[in-house]
Symmetry: C2
Subunit: 530 residues, 2 copies
């Protein structure tokens, strides 16, 4: 059987492989035929050389060209929809509909188009002009970006088509994508379209490159290579932190999205008001995608009280009766079992689940655990073990003060959620909880489960360490996500004709928002008298 | 003699010292009497506990309160001007006038007032509202910030009064300042005013704290402590990188300003046009502050040609005849000698200088070195050794292509400068140089020396590693510098009354710029129908 080629410098070329690997269908638990290369350093080196050259070319490109590429790519993804959905389903067992066909694929093309619009429009770069001193600045391309994609969004977070990809390219950078080894066929289909779109729109040959897999050592070497300007990684914590160490050592920005258990706090007033509705919402949020969302609510905090046990019972029933989904891979299945075991050995009591199987292929029964606030406070670190998948821990605190103490021990998380009585009868309790939760999470929600990350200008899919590597950045949400892949460039006394278009007196296209003398405007700058 | 107390939790209290130290007058080369404590970990621990409590209080403060503090502090600095100038001069030998009294002190109070205005006005936080989805976000206080100040700006970059301090406080954070050990008396005077201003304006007791000095080990422990949310450091590269390692290991943002040699390229057309003027500008820029500015032009790149040798001779004459300034300290004097020795051993030829003394106290004669482009390309790393002080290296390249090759080897720098013929006759050459320089520097200048860093909205005092630790941030320039000390906070479906004022439908004060549905506006948001 032939080994699939890699995409380097605009060519699909035979990999200088040091081995091969194959994907597995997690529902059938059967290996998929195609052979993919585990690249040797020679592939990475060739991609790096080509990326460095492409970065120089891309710095001179009109943003409109980059936008055209992203839009052509979006259209090509849509044109190949059925094949992509079929393949992604086969490699991840995520449902074809609505998940892949109706949510994730449209999200992917939408995100590429939003990034295209941001690139064309230019406001993402926060162009800033001080007319008095003739100092001007903006965020500009940083250089080649290396992206490691996760397994749980084979399209919308794929290293070659997802949010990081769209942001890095829209900011003007070439990308070296490292596919996730569990879905190489899906990644290949996407890369074929990316490559064709790049060709069709006249992008530099190496604007988009793909390696399917590298050894850990070569991955670390890639991240540290001086030809890479920035890195994005979404995935497990241990691997991410290894790459972070390599990037940090050479002073390179690395944007991580690691683990998050997304605490949800339900105050008694909310339970009194709408217990069944919340039990439904919680169950749906916990089990959709078989619990494999980054913002899956893995931790539920309740207060001891008359309604609490009934609520828990209701959730347990829902977990027991809900269908059991297939997990993304054998690895996820095993790590879920380990995560639940950690929680149990930390003192959590099993309410339901923690059994192998129950669904098609790799699966584990829907799992709920329970612990007291005291038990949590005895081992707060272990009680925050992530059990990625369809398992959640419920902690019942004695009172609001203990609940606040529980949250005070929390690591950084992507989201934090508070349900409260709807007519404002729990403001004191809300404030006590929010005071602890707010500084520890990227996104705070009221009365709404955290799954479902809208691509909105105001979205923050980020949070304090170890949810991410820097609490000031978001990986979802355009235009902010583009700025991760930029450097701040200032022009001091630089002649008009030499300035980037976005910083010249005349507003390029007339629609770019610029901060001129402290005021945001889409207008032109009056030429200086001097 | 009594040991000066430290400022912890709003009190000047006796330090749990593990030793003492004294400043030295570098012009007189004589120890200054006052004894200062080298704090033990107990002091740091007490400051950390107080800072954590202050951070919780400050999150609830009105921005106007913080602004009032910064403004009161600015006024108190001005009221104590003569004493501050006297003391800073004594501890650093920087001239009283114009440097300290007319430039640096006004810059310090101005910067505090600009930060106050930014805090009050709120636009720095980039409040962003998506009305359709009711998702809202802004940059908010990150938590306690630890600031290490440098020696070369005892007022305007002092850990307790400088740009980092103003930015961190304006963003809503308490500060633990680590004074530079060479000017503790100046730092004490500033801290007295900071503390009095905090008291006068009702700030939390531990909003501003000061330790004069820690052991290296305790400094590293402080940076890694979970009660510190972010770190700012300006100073030598080796110490800065040690702190960075500690911060990186625990996933904490650290903003560094390390070394920079600030390459200046002068094209032949500029020399033909205004050789003497440029020789004056270059000499002034190199020798002002005895070359001890972060943006000091330590590297001059010329092209071989008929006017080049004459220009170099003219600069040598100016260096020889210019008065020799006093260096900041014995340490700076020694490191300057080492830096010049590195350049000489890398193959640079001495044109003038490199002799001990020549000025009052710690001083070394104004120094110029020269090397060919070939010599540079043989040892590009050594040829970029920083000789912090009144010394610069001139590299003469064979032609524009070799000059571009020289720049291609450059590390990240704060600034890069190009002088060219004023009527546009050197655009091709400019483009070849700018293509290499632009991605390697934070600020690019035309026809203007890089010293003099205006506090402008558009300023970037930053640059790629190792000039700083992240190329997306600036330490000078308000409002951008505030965002370093923030986390991105998103509010999803959160009730109006629970939102920060800047995110409510009604624009707070009516003047805050907010990105509402993709458009910047100072208007209110129409209440939703739902």
């Amino acid at each position: 059987m032939q080994v699939h080629p890699v995409l380097i410098a605009g060519q699909w070329r035979e990999s200088a492989a040091q081995g091969t690997f194959q994907a597995e269908d997690p529902a059938e638990q059967r290996t998929i035929d195609d052979l993919y290369p585990m690249s040797s350093w020679a592939d990475a080196d060739a991609a790096l050389a080509a990326a460095a050259a492409a970065a120089d070319e891309m710095r001179l490109l009109e943003p409109a060209r980059i936008a055209a590429f992203l839009e052509a790519y979006a259209a090509r993804i849509e044109a190949r929809k059925s094949e992509l959905v079929e393949m992604a389903n086969r490699e991840t067992a995520l449902p074809k509909s609505p998940r892949l066909a109706d949510n994730e694929l449209p999200r992917t093309s939408n995100q590429l188009r939003l990034a295209a619009a941001a690139a064309r429009e230019g406001s993402w770069a926060l162009p800033t002009i001080d007319t008095n001193l003739d100092i001007r600045s903006l965020h500009a391309a940083i250089g080649p970006v290396c992206i490691f994609g996760p397994n749980n969004f084979p399209l919308a977070f794929n290293a070659i088509s997802g949010g990081d990809f769209a942001a890095a390219v829209a900011a003007g950078n070439p990308v070296i994508a490292l596919g996730h080894p569990c879905h190489p066929n899906t990644t290949r289909l996407l890369a074929e379209e990316a490559s064709a779109a790049a060709c069709q729109t006249g992008m530099p040959a190496a604007a988009v490159q793909l390696l399917y897999r590298l050894s850990y050592a070569d991955g670390e070497r890639l991240v540290a290579d001086p030809r890479i300007a920035a890195v994005a990684y979404t995935g497990g914590r241990a691997s991410g932190l290894k790459l972070k160490t390599c990037a940090d050592r050479v002073g390179k920005p690395i944007y991580l999205e690691l683990s998050s258990i997304n605490p949800v706090v339900i105050l008694p007033g909310a339970l009194a008001e709408r217990s069944a509705k919340i039990a439904d919402e919680f169950t749906t949020s916990c089990l959709s995608g078989t619990g494999q969302f980054c913002t899956n609510p893995g931790f539920l905090l309740l207060l001891r009280g008359p309604l609490t046990d009934a609520f828990i019972t209701a959730v347990v029933e829902r977990f027991r009766s809900a269908p059991v989904g297939t997990l993304l891979s054998r690895g996820v299945c095993e790590s879920l079992a380990r995560g639940v075991a950690s929680l149990r050995s930390a003192g959590a009591e099993l309410l339901v689940g923690d059994a192998d199987g129950g669904g098609r292929g790799y699966s584990r029964s829907n799992t709920l655990l329970r612990a007291t606030g005291d038990a949590f406070l005895r081992s707060p670190a272990d009680m925050q073990s992530e059990a990625f998948g369809n398992a959640s821990l419920i902690v019942v605190a004695d009172d609001i003060a203990q609940a606040a103490r529980v949250l005070r021990h929390f690591e950084g998380n992507l989201t934090g959620t508070i349900y409260s009585e709807s007519r404002g009868g729990e403001e004191t309790e809300y404030a006590a909880i929010a005071a602890q939760l707010r500084p520890r999470v990227g996104r705070l929600l009221d009365d709404k489960m955290p799954t479902g990350v809208a691509v909105s200008t105001a979205m923050n899919h980020g949070g304090p360490y170890p949810a991410t590597g820097h609490p000031g950045f978001t990986s979802v949400g355009i235009p902010a996500s583009l700025r991760r892949f930029s450097m701040l460039q200032c022009f001091d006394n630089v002649r008009q004709s030499r300035l980037p278009a976005a910083l010249r007196d005349r507003n390029p296209g007339g629609g770019t928002w610029r901060l001129v003398d402290g005021q945001w405007t889409t207008g032109d700058v009056k030429p200086r008298n001097s």
